[in-house]
């Protein structure tokens, strides 16, 4: 028997491919007779196309096809809403009419023999516009409740207003997070190839089946006729959840051209068509008694969205259960603007909402002269007060304790500016984190071969968290085979359906399906062979044994509130004269259920921490309020953390947590929670260092002078 593999630090099974450059990403598939596409994009935010002069572009060498709304085939655009699509509104239709609703909207497509020729021809398409007044200044747009029942967006428990007025200690502040872009290092790319009415897409996506279904609906063909292949995804962080319009453009180009077409977005285009974390404005009012008991929480927030879709995220969800409080009022609104639709970005909703909530909690702790950990412990709920359900498990207290101990929190002096290192001000701050446990229907196929190896597959995705590896581990563990004898495959619509690779649900969902399929196959093989050794059984049977499994959550959500919880502690050093902040240490403790592979789980957590450092200190898509253009649409002026920004000490603690309720594997997901809480912990540490409370991210030097 093989030792248990779940819980072991197995090295990535795709590691060799990745370190030798042999892993094949979307733009890298060798497809014969390939043509290259480039997109002409709008430089106004609202209006109509007055004229498109394509003469020079059509004359340019190598140009095969030039498609605008005037000559584009009418596309079916049948109704389709995938899970990541906005619930209200209609997705952008490309090249179907003369309407422009945002900067960077595709208005023409060039197909040419080479990349250089396509890009150049796109550049010399001359477009004039009939401008119309555009809403592009988020500060000037009046927020409104999203469509639907007001009760979905404005949620009350108790009487928050009167409780706040009566509270002895009060905090009421507004927090702003600017737009941020995912900026995965791989740019979006699609290769499209038609054979008759069948289409193959090599695509960068977090959900191959959704791409197939969306493109099928756009072109009015059967989803079975669209094959999507996506074995490696060079980061996505939510930007690859939806099927964006460029995929349609690639397929359209290939349709018109008759040849396979490759479309790779430029880094600038990455700011105009694949979503972003929306600008949010949040007001948090907390009322508490002298002993630190929360009496009232009022949390309202609004975020930008487009004019054609209402994007909303779980901005205020955590506020309703993270801390105990009898009187809670949340109100979520949107600010429709002439921008393209935002989307989910790593820890969507929670990252933003908890930044505001946990910053306000820190302000309350200061008002109460109370240790911020103590304040949270005093408000630790014993059940989900919003859903009125018990938590399936909740390890916040263990997380606070473990992280505080590792950090040395007891050495902290409470007074701001009281800790120094030479001329630098030292600040220690902390924040709580939470993210829901998501579990969605998933399928997997296990195939046992006579040679004692196994092939296991599911149409899942791996944008970095290690699906290739962790699924291999789950399969090998279940089958009782060594890892080397199990081959897991993902990223192809021909494989059994998996849910979207987002919301930290892949292990819970696909992992459970893999486990179930492997268990079935193993039991079947052993029963047929009358053996209790799988390798021996397979040899004896001399035939392939296959089993598929479909898993789906039961009624656990009706009985339990299920979330991962965590705590983040941070040390910053701030130069008081120059305003520069550096994160020196970060300690995160997480209660996230079972950890399948501690080595790659740690990678996810330190990655989330780095993402949180970016959010706190530097990331900001600087939108010109006059016209909605992103002025820093590159990787030089849009600052993401570099090596030198990584703290010298990064510590990740997984507290022991066994949760039998969440899903068969007992996992809660890690990818998102790892980013939650980092930004408020840093903001709180900066306050502790400097005595200055900055309520608008990112906290750049100019805000600390």
């Amino acid at each position: 028997m093989t030792a248990a593999l779940i819980g072991k630090s197995v090295s990535r099974v795709d590691g060799r491919l990745k370190v030798t450059g042999a892993a094949t990403y979307a733009a890298e598939f060798e497809v014969p007779n390939l043509a290259h596409a480039a997109v002409v994009r709008s430089i106004v935010a609202n209006g109509r196309l007055a004229s498109i002069d394509t003469a020079e572009a059509e004359r340019a060498p190598g140009v095969i096809a030039l498609v605008t709304h005037r000559n584009a085939p009418k596309l079916a655009y049948q109704p389709h809403k995938g899970l990541p699509d906005a619930a209200v509104g209609e997705r952008l239709h490309v090249l179907q009419d003369d309407r422009v609703t945002h900067q960077g909207q595709p208005i023409a497509l060039v197909v040419a023999e080479t990349l250089e020729q396509a890009v150049y021809a796109a550049e010399v398409v001359r477009v004039t516009y009939r401008n119309e007044a555009a809403a592009t200044d988020v500060a000037a747009v009046d927020p409104v409740l999203p469509t639907g029942k007001p009760a979905e967006w404005e949620i009350r428990r108790g009487e928050a207003d009167s409780a706040f007025e009566q509270a002895e200690f009060r905090v009421d502040q507004t927090y702003v997070i600017p737009r941020e872009n995912h900026n995965p290092i791989e740019m979006f790319a699609t290769i499209a190839s038609w054979e008759g009415d069948s289409l193959t897409l090599w695509d960068k996506t977090q959900w191959v089946h959704n791409v197939a279904e969306e493109i099928a609906a756009v072109f009015g063909i059967a989803a079975e006729n669209v094959r999507v292949i996506s074995p490696f995804v060079g980061g996505a962080f939510g930007s690859g959840l939806r099927c964006w319009p460029h995929v349609t453009l690639a397929a359209l180009g290939a349709r018109v051209d008759g040849r396979p077409v490759k479309l790779v977005l430029s880094r600038r285009e990455m700011y105009y068509g694949v979503g972003y974390r929306p600008h949010t404005v949040q007001r948090v009012a907390l009322g508490a008694s002298r002993d630190g008991q929360l009496q009232a929480i009022r949390h309202e927030g609004h975020q930008e969205t487009s004019t054609y879709e209402e994007f909303t995220e779980a901005l205020l969800s955590a506020t309703r259960f993270l801390h105990a409080c009898p009187n809670v009022h949340t109100r979520h609104r949107i600010a429709p603007m002439h921008v393209h639709t935002p989307t989910y970005m790593r820890a969507p909703g929670e990252a933003s909402g908890i930044y505001a909530l946990e910053s306000a909690m820190d302000e309350l702790a200061v008002a109460l002269s109370m240790d911020p950990v103590d304040l949270r412990l005093r408000n630790e709920p014993d059940r989900d007060e919003f859903k009125d359900l018990p938590f399936s498990s909740r390890s916040t207290k263990e997380c606070y304790r473990a992280a505080a101990e590792r950090f040395g929190w007891s050495q902290r002096t409470a007074e701001p500016r009281s800790m120094r290192d030479g001329r630098l001000l030292i600040g220690w701050g902390m924040a709580s984190a939470t993210y829901p446990m998501n579990y969605a229907p998933a399928s997997a196929l296990a195939r046992l071969l006579p040679d004692g190896t196994a092939e296991v597959m599911s149409a899942a995705s791996d944008m970095g968290p290690g699906t290739w590896t962790s699924m291999t581990q789950v399969a090998a563990d279940t089958l009782g085979l060594p890892v080397e004898r199990v081959k897991f495959t993902l990223g192809d619509t021909r494989l059994p359906r998996a849910p979207v690779h987002g919301g930290s649900m892949t292990m819970a969902s696909v992992g459970s399906a893999v486990q179930a399929a492997c268990r079935k196959a193993r039991e079947d093989a052993l029963a047929r062979a009358g053996s209790n050794d799988l390798e021996e059984a397979m040899e004896r049977l001399g035939q392939v044994i296959e089993a598929t499994a479909d898993v789906a959550p039961g009624d656990e959500t009706k009985r339990f509130s299920m979330h991962a919880f965590g705590a983040v502690f941070v040390e910053v050093a701030v130069d008081p004269d120059l305003g520069e902040t550096r994160v020196r240490r970060i300690v995160g403790a997480y209660g996230a259920g079972r950890v399948v592979n501690p080595k790659i789980a740690r990678s996810q957590c330190i990655g989330g921490m780095i993402g949180g450092i970016g959010m706190a200190l530097m990331e900001h898509s600087v939108v010109d309020p006059r016209n909605g253009r992103v002025t820093n649409a590159n990787l030089a002026e849009y600052a993401v953390p570099v090596h030198a920004d990584a703290p010298p000490v990064m510590d990740v603690i997984f507290v022991d947590e066994h949760d039998p309720h969440v899903n068969p594997l007992g996992v809660k997901g890690l990818g998102e929670i790892a980013l939650v809480g980092v930004a408020p912990a840093i903001a709180n540490a900066i306050f502790h260092a400097t005595g200055k409370r900055v309520r608008e991210l990112p906290i750049t030097p100019d805000k600390l002078l």
Binding site: S11, R12, D14, G15, R16, K18, V19, T20, G21, A22, A23, T24, Y25, A27, E28, E30, P61, G62, T114, L115, E116, Y120, H182, N183, P184, I185, E186, M187, F232, V233, G234, G235, A236, F237, V264, S266, R267, D462, M463, G464, G466, I600, S603, Q604, I606, G607, G608, M609, G611, N634, L635, A636, V640, P641, V642, H643, A644, A646, P648, M650
Partner: protein
């Protein structure tokens, strides 16, 4: 005089410049290509030679994913015109392992889990190889500064630094004999 320099000089403005015959020496092999003058070294590798291990993350020298060694020095392949790389010795990630045997830094990247999505990895490794050979891998702080031209959006920095330290130790112990 100028006419003697380039036959293309006589060409009418707006017409397509002639393709250039370019000879690129990559991982020890000479490749003869007929290239648009606009083709960057990175696009020559990826689109013409199917050496897709060098990655494009921006095309503007701002991410480092395309890092290759040119005459032993790390450069960003997206900022070089392919025609101007003629005569240089270019090494890409595909040329780093000796047959099946991984370069120590490739091995330590796997051991330390120094990547997630893997897209910046080729560039990190090529930059890391140079960082070690330049003598800039003496301390984690040094490594962080001298690797800052390579973005990792998955945030694997801590593990990349560890992997470079491990590989630097291997290379100094072998040099030390």
């Amino acid at each position: 005089m100028p006419g003697a320099i380039s036959p293309a000089l006589a060409q009418a403005a707006g017409a397509a410049p002639a393709l250039l015959d370019v000879s690129l020496r990559i991982n020890g092999t000479e490749h003869r290509l007929s290239l648009d003058p606009r083709t960057t070294l990175l696009d020559a590798l990826r689109e013409h030679l199917h050496l897709t291990g060098s990655k494009k993350g921006c095309g503007l020298g701002q991410c480092g994913a395309c890092t290759v060694l040119m005459d032993g020095m790390r450069v960003k392949a997206c900022l070089s015109l392919a025609a101007l790389a003629q005569g240089r010795e270019i090494k890409t990630i595909e040329g780093l392992a000796q047959g099946d045997e991984l370069h120590p830094l490739q091995a330590s990247f796997i051991e330390r889990d120094a990547f997630q999505c893997g897209y910046c990895t080729s560039g990190q490794i090529m930059a890391g190889v140079a960082c070690i050979s330049e003598g800039h891998a003496g301390s984690p702080q040094d490594i962080r500064e001298w690797m800052s031209g390579n973005l990792c959006r998955c945030g694997a920095y801590d593990h990349i630094v560890a992997a470079i330290q491990d590989a630097a130790a291997v290379s100094s112990s072998t040099q030390g004999g």
